[in-house]
């Protein structure tokens, strides 16, 4: 079940109002300053430790990425991009990947199981594994390719933004552990201000295109990046430059639902009223048979 101490603003496959009596819950955000990250993976380890996860020991795939992708046991991974600048220099762009905690989460929109995905008033998008049926619709719904279905229990997993820690006033485990202060956490408005200041610093230091990544296509996110090259997010191991919920998902989980339900209802009513007004067809009535 969802955390009892937090208001819920969105609940998957639910048409009534979710629990929302509490007051003063401010939207939060995690700010990841890519320009400060040294790729030490302390956050990856903290995540494993707090959430009690142990991924398989993988193999070296020729780069520092390990594991090489998000899994049901690795809710965050560091992605190391080696970018060759036009002047021949190499730039190492290290991005901590994981759930972005979208304001308009595609996973939640796609989920068919009531209450398997919730969005708290503080902005955190959380999977309530208890209610998860393992269909994987969230994977299709997510514009960032984040959720992973476990082979062990067929349930979906991803970063919780440490909703359990946050609910009792602690900061997320990755934030607590980051040695360079590249990950910060707090009220979203504060984080945006800090990011803007940092972007200003970066611009002064020659990163003309530095920017805050808080993509409007998904209503903004509660995990944001400061990017040195904000004009080209794709450079950071394929961070989408303009993410939004796929139009296929919008049709499937939007217009199709009421239209199809209406069509089915009308067909049944049509059949019923045809019977009521015209009645059954009976060959004997016309005296054709003997």
């Amino acid at each position: 079940m969802a955390l009892q101490s937090l208001n819920v603003t969105k609940r998957s496959a639910t048409t009534t109002q979710p629990p929302s009596v509490r007051t003063a819950e401010e939207p939060v955000a995690k700010l990841i300053d890519v320009s400060k990250c040294i790729g030490c993976k302390a956050c990856q380890v903290a995540c494993m430790q707090w959430n009690d996860l142990r991924d398989e020991v993988g193999t070296n795939v020729g780069v520092y990425d390990n594991p090489s992708n998000l899994t049901d046991q690795s809710w965050t991974v560091m992605r190391f991009a080696e970018y060759s600048k036009p002047d021949g220099d190499m730039e190492w762009l290290i991005r901590k990947d994981g759930c972005m905690h979208c304001e308009d989460p595609g996973c939640l929109k796609a989920c068919p199981s009531p209450g398997a995905i919730v969005k708290y008033a503080n902005g955190i998008v959380d999977f309530i594994s208890d209610n998860c049926i393992g269909c994987g619709y969230c994977v299709a719904g997510c514009p960032f390719d984040v959720p992973r279905i476990s082979k062990k229990d067929s349930k979906a997993y991803k970063c919780t933004l440490c909703s359990d820690r946050v609910a009792v006033g602690l900061e997320p485990a990755c934030v607590k552990t980051c040695p360079t202060g590249a990950i910060q956490y707090g009220a979203k408005t504060d984080m945006v201000l800090r990011a803007e200041k940092r972007v200003g610093d970066l611009k002064e230091r020659g990163f003309q295109k530095a920017a805050l990544y808080n993509p409007a296509g998904v209503g903004g996110t509660h995990v944001m990046y400061v990017l040195q090259h904000g004009d080209d997010p794709e450079r950071y191991s394929g961070l989408p430059s303009n993410p939004s919920i796929s139009p296929w998902v919008s049709v499937w989980k939007g217009a199709a639902k009421p239209l199809a339900s209406l069509a089915i209802g009308l067909a049944m009513l049509g059949a019923f009223f045809h019977y009521v007004t015209r009645g059954p067809k009976d060959e004997h009535a016309e005296g054709e048979s003997k």
Partner: protein, 213 residues
């Protein structure tokens, strides 16, 4: 297929026992699939997951039931393919649709085993069934892993094909059970009356009875 049958008793055979069993396997699996599928489709139908034993069981079983339906539906499609090719007299019959809907069947053009409505429904079901199988396998995470963009398209295709099939099913069941009297026994006991056969499917009637009285 079968030659003229010399009729001694009062009834005209329409479906052999094997055909009836196949039909009812398709019907039962279809109902299970439609109900569990609708449950995933819209929150208003979520309680229908109970039909297959809850949300997780529905997710597990739905695709297997679908494969069973596809196999038996395929048998039916092969068997009835020829009988469902649309002929010129079907078009003429269709022009009288308003009369037919008003139960005014006087002087209808003579048709064979199925009318054009049945034939069009048959075609719609064949197409939907193939689309449902292909898209369903793409969505089936227990056995397949397709790229996410492909899964998204498959999800839309699956939903649309399923709704087409369900709409057809409503027409089918209404006609069979409520509207056209005397049809149900074709699929339960396997036979229809001479009167039913002559009235609704005269060409077929003469074909199977050798023009009998």
């Amino acid at each position: 297929m079968s030659g003229p049958v010399v009729m001694k008793s009062g009834d005209v055979p329409r479906y052999a026992p094997g055909e009836r069993v196949t039909h009812w396997i398709v019907a039962i699996t279809f109902v299970l699939l439609a109900l569990s599928g609708l449950a995933f489709f819209h929150p208003a139908f979520w309680s229908l997951t109970a039909v297959l034993g809850g949300g997780v069981w529905s997710r597990i079983l739905h695709p297997y039931v679908g494969v069973v339906m596809f196999v038996f539906f395929g048998l039916m499609a092969l068997k009835y393919w020829k009988d469902n090719l649309i002929q010129p007299y079907d078009r003429a019959w269709q022009k009288r649709l308003p009369d037919i809907l008003n139960n005014n069947d006087h002087g209808l053009p003579e048709i064979d085993k199925y009318n054009i409505g049945q034939k069009q429904l048959f075609l719609a079901w064949v197409v939907s069934m193939v689309l449902l199988l292909v898209s369903g396998v793409v969505m089936w995470r227990d056995v397949a892993s397709f790229p996410v963009p492909v899964i998204r398209i498959a999800s839309v295709v699956h939903a649309i094909a399923a709704v087409v099939m369900i709409l057809g099913f409503i027409v089918h069941v209404y006609s069979a059970i409520f509207w056209v009297r005397g049809s149900m026994r074709a699929m339960t006991r396997g036979t229809v009356t001479h009167g039913w056969a002559k009235h609704h499917h005269p060409l077929w009637y003469r074909r199977v009875t050798g023009g009998g009285k």
